[in-house]
């Protein structure tokens, strides 16, 4: 794509955004397109919830492609703290600088202090990076971080500033496009959700899933795409530990294509089942019920 990057303000309707996303292989329904459009227009973070593999992370990646902006990703985990998410001082370099100053005979404390607490000794972590560049910021799986983290995330997302005691306040000239995702393993604090536009992503309908598979994997025969989508829909109706998402349907299709399969039958389904079902219990359950009935019924 050699075209000039698209600016957030150029997107004039949800439909325009949907078309742009589709240009990069992401099919968004009306709700998601409206959410994305309002996120761009109102400069509000998008808070996306839904099962794993429904396309939460993929949306952020595709938005970055659409806007021609880098994607900055902050993967959350338990114990994530400010030094890893916001900024940290580059301690070894500060120390080196002080040693060099000592060797040069400089002993003015005030001057040295101003020198070592300078922007160039500051290491920008994802949230600070996101304020300093035009980008799409993906805060992935926020439910994995502990609730203390939510407090300073809220601070950053409410006015897009970070205050550093030694340096002052850093303000984003252009607030980043923010996508926050959660798998809902833990309840996220209401104050954070309040800052955001909340969207719950469902698994796609059969027709949409077929369209997604064909859009993402153009080499796939339509018949195979339909079979995979139908089987995935059937699997989601079962009471599984981890129902497959679109990501799994795509993996499955890719695996079948790699094997040169043109049609999904019980035998090929049995050998490739690991691409869609990632729990032994789920696989056993589906096999016990009969793969033939999964492929035929639905």
């Amino acid at each position: 794509m050699q075209t000039a990057p698209i600016l957030a303000q150029d997107v004039d309707s949800p439909a325009t955004l949907a078309t742009l996303l589709e240009g990069h292989g992401y099919l968004a329904d009306e709700g998601l397109a409206t959410a994305g459009f309002l996120g761009l227009r109102m400069r509000r973070p998008l808070f996306l919830e839904g099962g794993a593999g429904v396309g939460k992370t993929a949306l952020a990646k595709t938005l970055a492609l659409v806007l021609g902006a880098p994607l900055i990703r902050l993967q959350c985990y338990e114990g994530l703290d400010a030094a890893q998410a916001l900024y940290d001082w580059d301690f070894p370099r500060q120390l080196l600088h002080l040693r060099a100053a000592e060797a040069a005979g400089i002993s003015d404390v005030a001057r040295l202090e101003a020198e070592i607490y300078d922007r160039r000794f500051l290491i920008a972590r994802p949230l600070l990076q996101a304020l300093e560049t035009r980008c799409v910021l993906l805060i992935d799986e926020v439910d994995r971080a502990d609730d203390e983290f939510e407090a300073f995330l809220l601070e950053v997302l409410s006015d897009f500033t970070i205050s550093i005691p030694e340096l002052g306040t850093i303000h984003a000239e252009e607030p980043p496009v923010v996508v926050v995702t959660s798998n809902r393993t833990r309840e996220v604090h209401d104050a954070l959700k309040r800052r955001c536009l909340y969207h719950w992503l469902e698994h796609p309908s059969y027709d949409r899933e077929v369209a997604i598979i064909r859009r993402r994997l153009p080499d796939v025969a339509e018949r195979l795409a339909r079979q995979v989508a139908a089987a995935a829909q059937g699997l989601r109706a079962e009471d599984l530990l981890k129902p497959p998402g679109v990501a799994e349907s795509l993996d499955w299709t890719e695996a079948l294509v790699a094997l040169g399969v043109r049609e999904l039958d019980p035998e090929t389904a049995a050998v490739t089942l690991g691409a869609v079902l990632k729990y032994r219990e789920d696989q056993q359950k589906v096999v016990a019920k009969g793969l033939a009935s999964l492929l035929n019924g639905g």
Binding site: L38, F91, L95, A103, V109, D147, R184, H199
Partner: protein, 364 residues
């Protein structure tokens, strides 16, 4: 479309009546969102509202229902209040008590140390004197809450390097590194929340369990919260701050309006989570529910709320005094619905069981 704002305010009110937290701030966001969309397009209005007024997948079905009803014209009159809850009084012939033969303990009392025997006796079957002794021993229990590592650091003699203090010290000495400073994570006691069932079927145990709660409050007053559940949710934390356990118990008995009433565990738990838990009380806490799981309401609701609790709490402990009975199985609908979300399922019928409960809390 006479007045968009007035229409939307009415819509938000309908939503709130249905249980969606569509407050004024959220409504404002919706109005701003509509600035960018077409107010006359029902689909745009639907999405603008759904994206800004909802905050939970549970909200979505309610939202859809309200949206359909409200914008179809048949504005459902938001009920002023929910009808007063029907309180089902427990009949005296509840779970069969006393039909079991008492253990052959009379002889042993004289032989072994009296405390040792008392330790394993079911508190429901004690004489007045024995009960007083057990109460004295419960008051001595130290159920110290487990420590959690806090995000904060404190200076320490060893541990991780503290770059900031080291740099500051170097700076003070004009560039000379004299010594390295260290820091370590501080520790905070984890919050413990006790929900004690005071309904009729729990009557023989409620006293001992509340005394246990008092002991926990005494050992960690700042990080313990106690509620009674039955037909009403009552916060007992302040009443239990009295040093003397008998004074505390008197205060508690005045505070609890529904002693020996029925049980609506699901609704009570929901109320606890709505009013206290979700806002922060249950977050990262060790939540102990002391109940026999005898649910007179909808067991499905209890199961649902337990899952919700599980997502908020650090650990969910359920103490069921009836668990100690020979051949006990968690067959009551409430207990069966709650168990999948419980981390530790323990007893709670005797002094020894309460000691073990204290251990579970301390270990969590």
């Amino acid at each position: 479309m006479r007045d968009v704002t007035a229409t939307l305010v009415g819509f938000a009110r309908t939503l709130r009546a249905a249980g969606v937290g569509a407050d004024a701030q959220r409504l404002q966001t919706m109005v701003r969102a509509l600035d960018h969309l077409d107010v006359l397009d029902p689909s745009d209005v639907y999405w603008a509202g759904r994206l800004t007024l909802c905050a939970d997948p549970d909200d979505l079905t309610r939202y859809d229902r309200c949206f359909a009803a409200y914008f179809a014209g048949e504005t459902p009159r938001p009920g002023r209040r929910q009808p007063p809850p029907v309180v089902i009084m427990q009949s005296a012939a509840m779970p069969s008590e006393g039909t079991q033969s008492g253990e052959s303990s009379d002889v042993r009392v004289t032989m072994a140390s009296a405390t040792e025997v008392l330790r394993n006796r079911d508190v429901a079957r004690l004489s007045a004197a024995e009960r007083a002794e057990v109460h004295r021993l419960i008051a001595l229990l130290a159920a110290s809450a487990a420590q959690r590592r806090s995000r904060r650091f404190a200076p320490a003699t060893s541990g991780r390097l503290d770059p900031h203090r080291t740099i500051r010290a170097v700076l003070q000495r004009g560039g000379e590194i004299s010594r390295l400073h260290h820091r370590t994570h501080t520790h905070r006691p984890r919050r413990v929340v006790l929900l004690v069932d005071v309904s009729g079927s729990m009557a023989p145990y409620a006293d001992a369990l509340l005394r246990f709660a008092h002991a926990v409050v005494r050992s960690a007053p700042r990080s313990t919260e106690v509620f009674s559940i039955g037909t009403r949710l009552t916060r007992l934390t302040l009443d239990l701050r009295h040093r003397d356990s008998d004074t505390a118990m008197t205060a508690v008995s005045v505070a609890i309006p529904d002693w020996s009433g029925g049980t609506r565990l699901g609704e009570e738990l929901k109320e606890f989570l709505d009013r206290f838990g979700q806002r922060g009380l249950a977050r990262g806490a060790v939540v102990v529910i002391a109940s026999d799981g005898w649910e007179r309401g909808d067991a499905a609701l209890l199961g649902e709320q337990m899952v919700r609790l599980r997502r908020l709490a650090h650990r969910v402990v359920w103490a069921n005094p009836h668990k100690a009975r020979p051949g006990y199985e968690p067959l009551t609908a409430g207990m069966a619905a709650a168990l999948p979300a419980v981390d530790d399922f323990v007893e709670g019928h005797s002094l020894g069981a309460l000691e073990r409960l204290a251990e579970v809390i301390g270990r969590a």
